[in-house]
Each structure stands twice: as C-alpha cells, then as structure tokens.
Amino acid sequence: MGVTLSESAAKHVANFLQKRGKGIGLRLGVRTSGCSGMAYKLEFVDEVNEDDQVFEQNGVKVIIDAKSMPYLEGMELDFAREGLNEGFKFNNPNVKDQCGCGESFNV
C-alpha cells in the first residue's frame, strides 16, 4: 500500500463528501502538464474505472489510476492551514523538484 491519508485529511474528505451528498471517494492522480512537467489531480469520485486501484484509509476510499501510481508511491496527503488559507497538501517523496508554487513538479 503506497499512499497514506493523514487523519486530518481523511476527516476533511469525509466531511466534504457528506456535504456534497454523493460520491464514493477521493481520486488522487497525476497528469502531464504545468510548468514543471507534472500536476496533481485531486477530485471527487462518482465512478471507479477499470484501471483504478481502490484503497481505504482512515475510513475514506482513495482511488488512484494505474498510470499515476508510480508517481504517488509513498506519498502522504495531509490537510493543512497556512494563514487564512487551508487545503490539502501532497507530501511526495518522488518529487525531485517543483515549481515555485508547488502546483506542478518533476520526478
């Protein structure tokens, strides 16, 4: 099992899912775009695709497609507050460098 969801992240995801009223879980993924090559995907999931892997973490279903898996191996998703802003944080050991804002990265 290569990806972990911190307790705080799981709690927020569960809360958001409940407020949204539908959805089975949280999709993590990467795609090629952005200024440093790769960008994260963080989405609600309504349907699981064939090549998806589904994990359960702290009571929340995490869905990752096969192609993204190698880039996310060993990653931890956390929920953080920085000043007035708050949101999810990717702590990814695979990242070699990232753009200044951290929204896209390279492996």
Binding site: L42, E43, G83
Partner: protein, 626 residues
C-alpha cells in the same frame, strides 16, 4: 507548497489556472465574503477568525481609511467621519433618504446621489462602499492565495437600477470583476439548495441589524421570480437591544444615564439578547460611572413579552407582500430565515406560526446570503460543468417603461421578466410635423410617472416631419445579466437612432455622467423654447392660410386700400414666422387679427343676409320650432 482543494470529477484545474470566485454580501450593518472550497461554500474569516466585517468606514485627516471593527469602535468619537449604513445612500438623492436630519453627516446634494463631506474630502457612497469591498477583496485574495476571477455581489430585491449600478461601480472601483449582481433573497434560497428543490413559492424573511425585508420568490425551472417584496427600513435586531435597554432602566429605576454608561448598558443588552437564544435566562450586570450596580435577570418569557410589538411589526409587511403576490400563507412551500436577528426564538416561533411550518434555520442566518452568492460565483466562474450545467436566472424586480402623453407610464418590460432580456415597442408622434421625441425611461409599477423612479431621459431628433401618428418609432429596452438597462429609439423609415445606457447620474467619480446630466438639463430648456416657437409658427401659418382663403372668396367686400393693408400685414407675419422670435410672431398675429376684424364683420353680415334673403319673418320663427 501549494494547498489543494478537491475538484469535481474531471475538473482538476491546470496549475496556475484556478478559477477563484467569491460571493459578497454587502450588507447595511455587516458584510461577508465567501467562496466554494472542495465543493462546499464557506465564509472567509479575517486574521482574528471573525467572519463578519462591520460595514463601517472611517476617514482620517491624512487620508488613511479604517474599515470594519476598527472603524466601528471609534464611531462614537468621530461620528462625522465614520460612515455607517452607507448602503442606505447608494444611488439615492438626499430627498430619498429617510431621517436625513437625524444623521451626523454633512450631506452634499449632488445630481443623482448624495455625497458626504469628511475631513479626508468629499466621498460618494460608491467610494465608501468600495472601501468595504476592497477590504473583503484583500481578505479573499489572502485566504485563497491567488488572483480572483470575479465576484457575485448581492443586493436587496427592491434595489432599483440606480442602486444596482452604484453597487456595480463600487465593485469596479475596488478592483473587483463583477460576475453578477444577485438578489439577496435569491442568494439565500440558493444557499439552501432550493434552486434544485421542487418548484413552488418560497418566502425569505430577512431581519438584519437595522433593516427588515420580506421577499416572496417563485421557483420555476431553476428560475427565481421575485413576486413581491416588502419590509421596514428602520426595524432590526438593534430595536430589540433597545427594548431590553428600556426595560432595564425601568426595572432598575435608573436615573438618566451618561452617554458612556448608556453605551455600555446597550452592549450588555445585546449580549443578553444573544445569550437568550440558547439559554432560558440572561444576567445583565454593570457597574455604572456613579458606582451604582445594575444586576438584573431577563428570562425568555419576559424578553418575548417586551418585544411582542416588534415581532408583530415584522408580520405586517409579510402579510402585505403575500397580498401583493396574491397568495395566502398556506401557498408558501418553504420559509428561509436570513439575518442574525432571526436567531431569536420568539421570531422563529412567530414566523413558524404565521406560515404554519418550521422555517429553514440550519444554515447560519448571518452567512446564508454570502454562501449563496459564493455558490453562484463558483458556477459563473465555470468551476462546475457537466450535467449540473445550469445557470440560475434572475428577474428584474420592477417594471421598466417610459413616459407617454399626459404623464402616464407605458411598461415595456414587465417586472419579473427573466434577464437578460430585450423588448421593443412602437411609438408614434403626437403632433403634425413633430421632428423630435423625448424619451423618459422610468422604473416602477405605478401608472403615473410622478410615482415611478426616473432613470434617464434622452431625445430622438431628426424624425422627418409627418402628420401626427405617421412616424414609427421603435423603442427597444435591453437588460443585461446584471439587471442593467440600455434603451434605443429608432425611427423606422429613416433609420435615425438614439440610445442611452441607463447609468444613473451620481457625480464626480464619473465625470462623463456629470457632463451627460448637464447636457440633458441644457437640452430640456432648449427643447421647451423650441416647442413653444414651433407652436407659434404653426398657429401663424394656419392664420395666413385662413385669411388668404377668405380674400380669394370675398375680396369684393373690401376696398383696394383695405386689401393692400391686409396683404402687407400677412407679409409681415410670414417674415416673422421664417425667423425664430416667438414674440414677433405673436405680435404679427395680433396685427393681422386687428386688420381683418372689419373684413370678418362684413363677411358675417353677408352670410347672414344670404341665409335670410327671400324668407319671411314668420318662416324664420317657425323654422326655429321645427
């Protein structure tokens, strides 16, 4: 490291392309800003964790500006330069503002909208509101860590065009891109997700700090129509504090209080009111400046009793709004509660009893409007697509029309038309040879112009002279998604066109508008003169025509000298008509009337003779009986 929000399936934003949109509740007493994070609408707090921003702006001598709590704290110290409730002045002339004499401000009458004299200079309500919006914008940019795409700003349903335009201009001045202005009750309904609920009629009961609004909304196919609005602009939660205040003074038999004591006691009363929302009893204790102690307990029943008249005062406009909408309380499918004062149990009970159903109270009534605005902003920014791809439509709250002869209103766009919309209607000239048409755009439901709000005036000139009723002038009213109006008039045969964007005039922040207003006033005078001249010319021509026709028929009744005299006078009149001096025309008409008097008498005698000749007196007498 960036912080991420959860997106809808397939909607993850590309890096650096987050579409950040906010909703703003620009309130009379307090304002809020909200956004949608991970699919959920949330209010953004300030650095101290407070969601509300008091709508108070204080101007310092050095031009520095305080907004919010900071400004509210010093309100008593510097009332002239601390502007509260600026929303009441938006798009309003001095004569439109209630209790203007009891306000501490130095008002300056300006065309269209009052201005306030502060020691940092003269400020228009638009500028003051812009300060509040700037503060909210800074908060949002800080909290969202990025550039904002735009904002949805809410306005009361009864706001007319001038007030909406003023709000939009304040946003522009604050550097905000306005995605849409949204009616407050509609925003509240969206926050409760009623736009996805069953079709039907909903009531929005909004009791704020100092104002009360009731709106009856009808939902059909995702469109909210405002069926009726009502309220009381001088009734709010503050009045309940005041009732407790009076009760305490009476119970404790207090002597008249010093301003300082009064302020502190008022604060205790407010705290007691809030405490009673969740508790059966609230203590009110305060040591006065005289060292006297006030220590008294207020229970829920007493509180309900002493505020009974206030509660029933809110139900009067509710009944009226229902009557206006032609509905009964039973027809209402749901009741949305808005405004902090609706937390009071006696309000919830009274509203519940009146509508015979539990009102919706599970969202924070202070935040519900901002949350709805944020939901709408998120949608307009394009953060939600796919099968949820709907755009909520709004409607115009008051009919738009123009003035017709006799000071009557002709409605071109009826109220509750969904916007954007465009409607055209054909009008015609009233007089023969009329070459210009004044178009007076008004907003309101009343039949007489005097009872409606005047929005703009403009002129269509260069209409070819035709007999009355022959010209075809097509007037098109167009309302954009924000409820703002442009009017175009076009003469169909020649294609002459004139148009105006209804941007009601309010002063120096927009020089163009000031110029436009001056122009229209100058024209108004010219036009009155021109119309009077034209009327004199038409009358003179009619007189010449009649005299010449008489001469052609009965010249034998006059001597040559007399005929010459009349012809000279006609020539003189003709000359004066060619000029533009109305007085000369009138004088020449008087002359011609005088010169032709004898001629007229003789013609009269002649025609009487003709009638009577060959008949006996007897015939005439019996003829009368016949």
């Amino acid at each position: 490291m960036a912080l991420f929000q959860i997106a809808e399936p397939g909607e993850s934003a590309a890096p650096h392309e987050h579409k950040l949109a906010i909703g703003i509740d620009l309130g009379t007493t307090n304002s809020l800003v909200a956004t949608v994070r991970s699919g959920m609408a949330v209010c953004l707090h300030d650095a101290q964790g407070r969601p509300l921003l008091p709508s108070v702006v204080r101007y310092h001598v050095d031009g520095q500006v305080d907004v919010g709590y900071e400004a509210r704290k010093t309100q008593a110290v510097d009332p002239k330069n601390t502007i509260i409730s600026v929303k009441r002045f938006m798009g309003r002339g001095k004569q439109d503002i209630a209790h203007v004499e009891s306000m501490p401000y130095d008002f300056i009458e300006a065309p269209g909208m009052v201005k306030l004299k502060t020691h940092a200079g003269i400020k228009s309500p638009v500028e003051v509101s812009a300060e509040i919006l700037k503060s909210l914008k800074a908060r949002a940019e800080h909290a969202l860590a990025g550039e904002l795409l735009g904002a949805v700003i809410t306005v009361p349903a009864y706001f007319d065009d001038a007030q909406r335009q003023a709000t939009k201009d304040a946003a522009r001045l604050a550097g905000l891109n306005v995605l849409r202005l949204l009616n407050e009750p509609t925003a509240a309904a969206i926050a409760y997700g009623l736009d996805n609920a069953a079709e039907g009629v909903y009531a929005v009961y909004d009791l704020g700090g100092g104002t009360f609004d009731i709106s009856i909304l009808k939902l059909t196919k995702g469109v909210f129509e405002v069926m009726a609005t009502g309220g009381d602009s001088a009734l709010g939660g503050d009045d309940f504090d005041h009732r407790i205040f009076c009760w305490v003074i009476e119970q404790a038999k207090l002597q008249p209080l010093s301003p300082e004591d009064a302020r502190r006691l008022m604060m205790r009363c407010r705290e007691a009111k809030e405490f009673l929302t969740n508790n059966p009893e609230a203590p009110i204790s305060l040591r006065l400046g005289s060292d006297e102690m006030v220590d008294i307990k207020l229970d829920v029943q007493t509180f309900a009793e002493i505020t009974r008249t206030l509660v029933s005062k809110t139900l009067q406009p509710v009944k009226k709004a229902l009557r206006d909408a032609g509905l009964r309380a039973d027809d209402i499918k749901g009741v949305v509660m808005v405004g902090g004062a609706t937390r009071m149990p006696q309000i919830q009970k009274a509203v519940g009893d009146f509508f015979r159903q539990e009102p919706l109270t599970n969202l924070d009534p202070d935040k519900v409007v901002a949350l709805g605005a944020a939901t709408q902003a998120n949608l307009l920014a394009g953060n939600k697509t796919g099968k949820d791809d709907w755009l909520l439509l709004d409607v115009i709250p008051l009919s738009l029309g123009l003035e017709t002869m006799g000071g009557l209103t002709e409605k071109v766009i009826p109220r509750n038309s969904t916007i954007p919309t465009a409607r055209a209607q054909e009008f015609t000239t009233y007089k023969d040879g009329q070459t210009a048409m004044a178009i007076h755009v008004v907003q309101g439901e009343r039949e007489m112009i005097a009872d409606c709000r005047s929005l703009a005036r403009f002129e269509l000139r260069g209409i070819p002279a035709m007999v009355a009723g022959a010209a075809r002038i097509r007037v098109t009213f167009q309302v954009d998604a924000d409820g703002l109006l442009s009017v175009t008039a076009r003469e169909q045969t020649t294609g002459v066109e004139a148009s105006i964007n209804v941007k009601p005039s309010y002063g120096l922040s927009d020089d163009e508008i000031a110029g436009m207003l001056k122009d229209s006033m100058a024209h108004a005078k010219d036009d009155a003169m021109a119309r009077a001249l034209r009327e004199a010319q038409v009358e003179g021509e009619r007189m010449i025509e009649a005299t010449e026709a008489a001469l052609a028929e009965d010249a034998h009744l006059l001597s040559t000298a007399e005929i010459d005299k009349i012809n000279t006078t006609i020539a003189k009149l003709r000359n004066s008509i060619a000029g533009d001096n109305r007085r000369l025309i009138n004088l020449a008409m008087d002359d011609l009337g005088f010169e032709t008097q004898t001629f007229a008498h003789r013609r009269m005698d002649q025609s009487i003779k003709k009638v009577l000749s060959g008949r006996k007196v007897n015939d005439i007498a019996t003829g009368e009986d016949a």
